[in-house]
């Protein structure tokens, strides 16, 4: 799934970053190379080489810049601050990250993974960012024998994927439970008399939006909701105001949008301008982004979104602090922490095996519990089965309110009071 971070608010820090990047890239391509070589040499023992492929340009670059890359940098720094990963023989080996930009192009993702394995001799490769890119790379990870711990790959084909590919893991959730989460939450609230019976649904017209909308639609109808509006819009939509006008004309009590970052922002803004009055307002990806809060301020109190975290847990607060120090920006309240957790799994598995032995690491991941920022993780059938499905903005923090498994820190939903 795409978790692009987008739009102006986050771009404020992004723009100078990008500029710097561009200049750096042009002037100091070779310099940077010699620097990494230099720092690698400076380290006491031979580093473990870890490849990272994700967009730095293209449609998903914005999302990767929030959810993916900062966590890689943070992880590298934290691991190496301890001297590296503890090996069987008692030595510590630092990690060295080798980065590739796949330009949001799946054939480039495949090529980069091959380059990492064949030319760079990477010991491990971090799963690519984005559903399409990650799934496209799964066969090649499998063929080359690399374990692949996916985060931002949300699909209903987890069963097929895990049965075909032995070393492929999923951590952020599956499509249907995520859609069920919000639908069941609405059923509960309606039965408690908190929200009305008329629901308007919109979705972004690609696999992610279509899968979620169909799963949620079934539950709404089974539970006697009146679906008064149900339309899709293209991922490239530039103007959502006609959509919002139609929604308002349908006079719903509940508004549910299975949306991507740009349209999440646009729909929220249109709802405010055109004054959509509903008992419950839900948008999907990017709702848990800090930039969403910066953009809309207090008006989003009570807005529902996909995913969530327990923002009050000690581990999360600690992680948030470290993330801000390293990246200069906060993590999002959903996939960021899970991305970091997936890296913790990799590190703990390597240390558990005591050597960068890929097959052994895959086996270790399957059979051992992990202590992560998301709490204890145990992989069942190559996937994590307890994850947040619905969260809500409450007093400036995005709290998980509903999860598939038993997760600590779920809060009661609050009522949304106008804009």
């Amino acid at each position: 799934m795409k978790t692009e971070n987008s739009t102006c608010q986050t771009v404020q820090p992004l723009v100078p970053l990008c500029l710097r990047h561009a200049i750096l890239g042009m002037v100091a391509g070779t310099l940077a190379l010699s620097l990494t070589l230099g720092s690698a040499l400076a380290q006491s023992s031979d580093p473990i080489r870890v490849g990272a492929v994700a967009p730095k340009t293209g449609a998903l670059a914005g999302g990767a810049a929030v959810t993916f890359w900062p966590n890689i940098a943070l992880w590298e720094q934290e691991v190496n601050a301890d001297g590296g990963l503890l090996m069987e023989d008692g030595t510590r080996r630092p990690v060295q990250i080798i980065e590739y930009d796949d330009r949001t192009d799946p054939s480039e993702t495949i090529r980069s993974v091959q380059r990492l394995a064949n030319n760079d001799n990477a010991d491990f490769i971090i799963a690519p960012y984005g559903t399409g890119l990650a799934l496209a790379a799964a066969p090649i990870f499998d063929r080359l024998g690399y374990p692949m711990i996916n985060v931002s790959a949300i699909t209903d084909q987890v069963d097929t994927m895990t049965s075909r590919y032995d070393g492929v893991f999923f951590t952020l959730g599956e499509t249907t439970p995520l859609a069920q989460g919000i639908a069941e939450q609405m059923v509960e609230l309606r039965d408690a008399g908190e929200v009305g019976n008329r629901v308007a649904m919109v979705n972004v017209a690609d696999a992610f939006g279509i899968e979620l909308a169909q799963a949620a639609g079934v539950i709404f109808e089974q539970n006697g909701f009146d679906v008064v509006y149900n339309r899709s819009y293209p991922p490239t939509i530039q103007d959502v105001s006609p959509v919002m006008s139609s929604v308002i004309d349908a006079n719903p009590d509940v508004f549910v949008a299975f949306s991507y970052p740009p349209d999440t922002f646009a729909l929220t803004e249109a709802a405010q301008i055109q004054d959509l009055q509903v008992d419950a307002f839900y948008t999907a990806v990017a709702t848990p982004f800090p930039s969403y809060r910066e953009r809309f301020g207090d008006s989003i109190n009570g807005v529902f979104g996909v995913g969530g975290v327990n923002p009050d847990s000690e581990r999360f607060i600690e992680y948030e602090q470290a993330h801000i120090e390293v990246a200069g920006q906060g993590p999002d309240y959903w996939a960021s922490a899970v991305t970091y957790a997936s890296l913790e799994v990799l590190a703990q598995a390597i240390e558990g095996v005591g050597a960068p032995d890929r097959d052994a690491v895959t086996e270790y991941i399957k059979n051992n519990p992990f202590d992560t920022v998301m709490g204890e993780w145990v992989f069942e059938d190559q996937r994590i089965n307890n994850y947040w499905t619905v969260g809500q903005w409450q007093d400036g923090k995005f709290h998980g309110i509903r999860a598939t498994g038993d997760l600590e820190g779920a809060v009661e939903p609050i009522r949304k009071e106008g804009w």
Partner: protein, 315 residues
């Protein structure tokens, strides 16, 4: 067939036979990841040039055909075996080309360019709209056991086919008609050629090839997103490679695709943030400085050399 043609045919077949052994090389995975795009773009650019070379109509629709082929694979696989999808992809590509051609190829070239410019985006909108509202397909997953080597062989076979078709067209009445149209459409019309029909037919051939290539490439990606299938970069790269190689010879696009894809490999791994910019600049350089393509230059050099040799032997 003349004797010269027989020799050519044997040489081409021999070359293809040798190329077919690439997957059995050591470290073939890395080689294949480079050779697959080259072969793919060779087929696309050659089939593009089949139409655009003689007619001078610049088609920016390759991505639309490619996308149709790629996108239909997932739903089609649910009802039929893989090998049956390919001819159906070809048919859909040809059908789309016929539709577009019927609407635009009667008019001046500008309308055609404009129409094809946004075609990929438009088809993508219509398909996702249809899928969302009627088809109810939940995502587009392609799980078939086809590995890179098999994809490569299929592409190689397509390349052979595109050369065969190109050669046949050149010899046929259609090829003759289209050359006259390219030189002067008015003359062609006056000499009784149904110009629109000839152009549409050729465009259909070109569209069918692009659609099949899209379908063949799909198993590589497991999961098909509209944005991947209908990527306008494909149209662009095809035009640039064909122009670089030269569109007036059947083998022109080949000598464009190989060096371009290799250079591209270097650029993509060293300047990942600047690829689109460099692509644009490369395109401008080709248009300004190599208007007749590498093939044109090679022929010029060859003829000059032959002339000099003749002069030497005479002198």
């Amino acid at each position: 067939m003349t004797r010269k043609e027989v020799i050519y045919a044997v040489l081409v077949l021999a070359a293809f036979a040798v190329l077919a052994f690439i997957p059995s090389l050591p470290n073939s995975a890395a080689v294949l990841s480079l050779v697959i795009p080259i072969t793919m773009y060779t087929v696309l650019a050659t089939s593009w040039a089949l139409f655009s070379g003689p007619t001078h109509y610049i088609s920016l629709a390759t991505a639309a055909f490619y996308g149709v082929g790629a996108y239909m694979m997932a739903p089609a696989l649910e009802v039929m075996p893989y090998w049956m999808v390919l001819p159906i992809a070809a048919l859909s590509g040809a059908l789309l080309a016929a539709l577009v051609g019927a609407m635009t190829l009667r008019l001046s070239g500008v309308y055609f360019v404009i129409f094809t410019l946004g075609l990929a985006e438009m088809v993508r909108q219509v398909i996702t709209w249809y899928q969302n509202n009627f088809a109810g397909t939940r995502g587009n997953y392609v799980f078939v056991d086809i590995n890179d080597a098999q994809i490569y062989w299929q592409l190689l076979a397509l390349a052979l086919l595109v050369y065969l078709v190109g050669w046949l067209i050149n010899r046929s009445r259609l090829g003759f008609a289209i050359r006259i149209i390219g030189n002067d459409e008015l003359v062609a019309r006056h000499s009784g050629i149904n110009t629109a029909r000839a152009k549409i037919l050729l465009f259909m051939v070109s569209g069918a090839f692009a659609a099949v290539v899209g379908a063949v490439m799909t198993p590589r990606f497991v999961y098909i997103e509209p944005a991947m299938a209908f990527n306008p970069e494909v149209s662009f790269l095809v035009v640039i490679m064909a122009l670089l190689g030269g569109v007036h010879r059947l083998w022109g696009p080949l000598v464009g695709a190989i060096p371009f894809a290799l250079t591209w490999e270097v650029i993509a791994s060293n300047f990942p943030a600047q690829t689109v910019l460099l692509m644009g600049i490369a395109f401008l350089l080709v248009v300004y400085y190599i208007p007749s393509g590498v093939a044109g230059i090679m022929e010029k050099v060859y003829f000059r050399a032959r002339q000099q040799r003749r002069e030497v032997s005479h002198g």
